[in-house]
């Protein structure tokens, strides 16, 4: 993979990452925040795979596989927490989940 291809992957990754960050910081719905986190992770995955292909190693792909596994677990736990919050509050609005306010 040449540098031009790599740039395009990195650009895609940056767009995905920025979209994810925006979602995480701006969206109020907890499910959307979780999905945005997935976007951030996948942006990282794209980076890893792209750099792995660019350097001709599979280390990036392997690392991306680990990230996917961890992300799956994270989503599982995150959705479970969202579910519990919803059961308690009948809402998944993150602004309302502010008991930790000092």
């Amino acid at each position: 993979m040449d540098d031009l291809m790599l740039n395009q992957f990195l650009l895609l990754s940056a767009i995905l990452f920025s979209t994810g960050v925006y979602g995480v910081l701006a969206k109020r719905n907890a499910v959307i925040v979780l999905m945005s986190i997935e976007l951030i992770l996948n942006a990282v995955n794209i980076n890893l795979v792209a750099f792995g292909a660019h350097n001709g190693t599979i280390a990036g792909s392997v690392f991306a596989l680990f990230v996917i596994a961890v992300a799956a677990a994270e989503v599982g736990v995150g959705l479970a927490m969202v579910l519990v919050i919803y059961r308690n509050r009948k809402s998944v609005d993150l602004d309302e989940v502010a008991q930790m306010k000092g």
């Binding site: 960050v21 995480v24 910081l25 701006a26 925040v33 993150l94 602004d95 989940v97 502010a98 008991q99 930790m100 306010k101 000092g102």
Partner: protein, 825 residues
């Protein structure tokens, strides 16, 4: 030292000489044993003491016999050694010392400082041998010269040394200074062993009768034992530290025994007075010994100190100051004038104790100490080269002062006490004029006749239960003829009637005063001594008259008056109370009230009297001179005392070589004029007193009629007002202002300091509480709390609880960090 002794012919001291240190130890053991089991033995408690002192006496006799042989051997070894002088050249190690010493002998001007360290060890180690060695090293001509000098001095002996028998163990070590305990046995120690054990033995035997039934019988004998132990240890002290310790122990024992009947206030007062007066002089002893300790290069060794004093290695100033300090100790211990006041009061003790104190132990300790440290006194006071010195002056004053006071006493023991003061004056005076042997010889003879007199007075007092000659005695001759005769013999010896003991010793002192000294004579002291002889004769005649002649004035036994109100006005309160003490004793006397008139004492009192009277007759023959009018006397029997007991060695002033003071130690020769004149003065004194008392001649009652005589009498009765001076003016004058000053000091300074400290503590405490605790400590604690709270208040604003806000901050922070990361790198 021992190598030198072997080279000189290996004179071995005998077994008893080597082990004489057991004598005081036996008496100390006797003290402990008597205290421990004495109470259970009851009246047999005295046996412990008697057996012990008996053993010690036999031991001391054995020591004296062996000493005789030892002296003889030393003399012969030196003579034979001097004859074949070749042999000694093999002794290389001694050569430097010999050469130095020879140089010194030839050139007396050689300054001591130039000799350096080489001589000092030689003087330490081989000091006593140096003379003999150098004589032999210089060969036959010098020996001849020495022998000539010896004959010139009337000695007839070649110069030889007698090595003292020493033995010591290290007690403890402090840095480089070794503190030792040990024995130093030379002629005078051997002589004193004999005298002390003999007198002590007789006193023990006498006491079994005299204090029979006393309530503190065991206590009494225990302290007699300790007293003997202390004195025996004292006379053979090897170093000055031991000397001081045992000197003090002697003082403590005398305190305990003088105050034996302490229930009577005056008795305990007398004991305290004796003790405290002695403290005054002991300061001098301590200071003097410390000066000597440092002057002699940090040593306590008596031989070493004396040797260094004789070689001139100690400066004359140090010796002078030290000997004056030691003189203060002699004045208090030996009852010399102005510190003698305790001694007559010490009569409050039981009579045998008085005999022991006055004859053999306490008071002769001072004289003995001077004799022991004679190298120091000889060089410090320049005894050989002057015609007046402090020691002789003190002695001379004491001779006359004591004798004067003896005239007005009505208590028989006080007459004897002042007589002792006077006789001790003779001894000190003799030491002061350089007649060392005469002083020790007088000590020797005086011990016997004075002990005899005291025990004789005790015997009389035992019969009449009083010591008051004027009130309770008189005519005792008919009741107690045996006591009377022993008393008369001892008196004759004290007065110095030919041929009794005192004649020889007193005459030797007077001869010394007339022949020794820098100008060839201590003339003033010859006069003093002669007047003293006259006075002694007179007061002793008065004493005998009042006690043994005339009408019996005492009450019959059944009606002994216990009251003391009607005592004569001049009677000292202490005398009255020693009478009290005897009443106490009378109450325990099983024979009290059995008979009407006084009667002769029992054998346990008489036998010691016989022995002492016998010795008072013969003791003087121990030192008959063979010079002057007595030059026909066979040499083998002449000057035995001097020959045996006078030290010969580097630690004693030399007979042949002039010391640093430029004077040679010399012996007085017999002078028929002095002998006759002193005897005549004695007879004159007896005659005057006889005319006055027996015949009633002379101006009786002159003290009432003549103002001057009255004043003189009053001065004597008041003992020269010394007691007034001490207790009235010095003690009384000092204690009031001192008490007030002390009170003021206590109130204003000490209390002020204490109060000030208290107040300061309160103020300080308040300051600490209010400022430090409340403000600083609590402030810090509270401040940290407030700070934490304030910080919390500030930081809680950031804690919105909104996860996305946290995330935004996190992201922003990450971006900033990333930016920094990129820019920096």
């Amino acid at each position: 030292m021992f190598g030198a002794a072997e080279a000189a012919g290996a004179v071995e001291p005998g077994f008893l000489l080597e082990n004489a240190y057991v004598v005081p130890l036996v008496m100390a053991a006797s003290f402990v044993l008597t205290l421990a089991i004495g109470k259970r033995l009851g009246k047999h408690a005295s046996w412990i003491g008697i057996v012990s002192i008996g053993f010690c006496f036999l031991f001391a006799v054995g020591v004296n016999v062996q000493w005789y042989g030892y002296v003889h051997d030393s003399e012969h070894a030196a003579e034979s050694h001097a004859e074949d002088g070749e042999e000694s050249h093999g002794d290389d190690t001694e050569d430097p010392a010999e050469d130095e010493d020879a140089a010194r002998a030839e050139d007396p001007e050689l300054p001591a400082g130039d000799e350096g360290a080489l001589v000092v060890p030689a003087a330490e180690g081989a000091g006593p041998m140096v003379d003999g060695e150098s004589a032999s090293a210089r060969g036959p001509p010098t020996v001849a010269a020495v022998a000539e000098e010896g004959e010139g001095g009337g000695e007839g002996h070649a110069e030889y040394t007698i090595e003292p028998v020493t033995k010591s163990v290290t007690w403890w070590t402090n840095g480089t200074v070794e503190f030792e305990v040990g024995m130093l046995l030379d002629g005078m120690a051997v002589m004193m062993l004999f005298v002390v054990t003999l007198i002590s033995l007789l006193v023990h035997v006498f006491s079994t009768d005299y204090v029979a039934g006393d309530r503190r019988y065991t206590h009494y004998f225990a302290f007699l034992s300790l007293f003997s132990a202390a004195m025996l240890g004292f006379v053979m002290s090897q170093n000055t530290l031991q000397l001081i310790t045992l000197w003090e122990l002697v003082g403590v024992c005398s305190f305990a025994l003088i105050g034996h009947w302490w229930e009577e206030k005056p008795n305990s007062d007398a004991a305290l007075k004796a003790f405290l007066t002695n403290r005054v002089g002991d300061v001098g002893l301590l200071v003097g010994m410390i000066i000597l300790f440092f002057a002699a290069g940090q040593t306590f060794d008596i031989i070493e100190i004396n040797t260094l004093a004789n070689t001139g290695d100690i400066t004359h100033t140090a010796l002078l100051v030290a000997s004056l300090c030691l003189l203060a100790a002699v004045m208090s211990k030996s009852g010399q004038f102005i510190l003698h006041t305790w001694l007559p009061d010490a009569m409050a003790g039981p009579t045998p104790v008085s005999a022991l104190i006055h004859a053999a132990t306490m008071v002769v300790a001072g004289v003995y100490m001077v004799a022991r440290m004679y190298g120091v006194f000889w060089n410090g006071l320049v005894i050989g080269g002057s015609s007046i010195n402090a020691l002789a002056v003190v002695g001379g004053l004491t001779v006359l002062g004591g004798a004067g006071l003896a005239f007005v006493q009505s208590d028989i023991k006080k007459v004897l006490a002042y007589s002792t003061v006077s006789q001790l004056g003779y001894m000190v005076m003799a030491l002061g004029v350089g007649a060392w042997t005469a002083a020790l010889f007088h000590l020797f003879t005086h011990a016997f006749f004075k002990a005899g007199l005291f025990l004789g007075s005790g015997s009389v007092a035992h019969a009449v239960h009083s010591f008051d000659m004027k009130k309770d005695m008189g005519g005792m001759k008919q009741f107690m003829p045996k006591t009377f005769w022993t008393f008369v013999i001892c008196t004759a010896a004290l007065i110095g009637i030919f041929p009794f003991a005192g004649f020889w010793s007193k005459d030797e002192i007077l001869a010394g005063a007339s022949q020794l000294g820098g100008d060839g004579s201590y003339t003033a002291f010859l006069v003093v001594g002669s007047i003293g002889a006259l006075m002694t004769a007179a007061y002793m005649t008065r004493c005998i008259y009042l006690t043994f002649f005339g009408e019996f004035r005492g009450a019959h036994h059944g009606e002994v008056s216990h009251g003391t109100e009607d005592h004569p006005v001049e009677e000292d309160h202490l005398a009255a109370d020693s009478g009290h003490g005897d009443d106490l004793e009378a109450a325990h006397d099983p024979h009290a009230g059995d008979h009407g008139l006084p009667h002769e004492s029992g054998p346990r009192i008489l036998v010691p009297l016989y022995i002492l009277a016998g010795l008072a007759i013969v003791a003087g023959f121990a030192n008959i001179p063979n010079s002057g009018a007595l030059s026909w006397w066979p040499e083998d029997f002449a000057l035995v005392f001097e020959h045996l007991f006078e030290p010969r060695g580097g630690y004693f002033p030399s007979l042949t070589e002039a010391g640093p003071t430029g004077a040679v130690f010399a012996h007085p020769k017999f002078d028929i004029v002095i002998a006759l004149s002193s005897t005549l003065l004695g007879l004159l004194g007896i005659g005057l007193a006889y005319a006055w008392y027996f015949k009633g001649l002379g101006p009786h009652g002159i003290t009432q009629r003549n103002r001057l005589a009255g004043v003189g009498h009053r001065i004597l009765v008041n003992k020269y007002y010394f007691d007034h001076l001490y207790t009235g003016i010095i003690a009384g004058g000092v204690k009031g202002p001192v008490a007030r000053a002390t009170n003021w000091f206590n109130k204003h300074i000490l209390d002020g300091v204490v109060d000030g400290v208290g107040k300061g503590a309160v103020v300080g405490g308040r300051f600490v509480y209010e400022t430090i605790d409340q403000k600083v400590v609590d402030g810090a604690v509270n401040g940290s709390g407030y700070a934490a709270e304030g910080g919390g208040q500030v930081f809680r604003i950031m804690q919105t609880g909104k996860v996305q806000q946290y995330g935004a901050i996190l992201f922003a922070a990450t971006v900033v960090l990333a930016g920094i990361f990129i820019v920096v790198i």
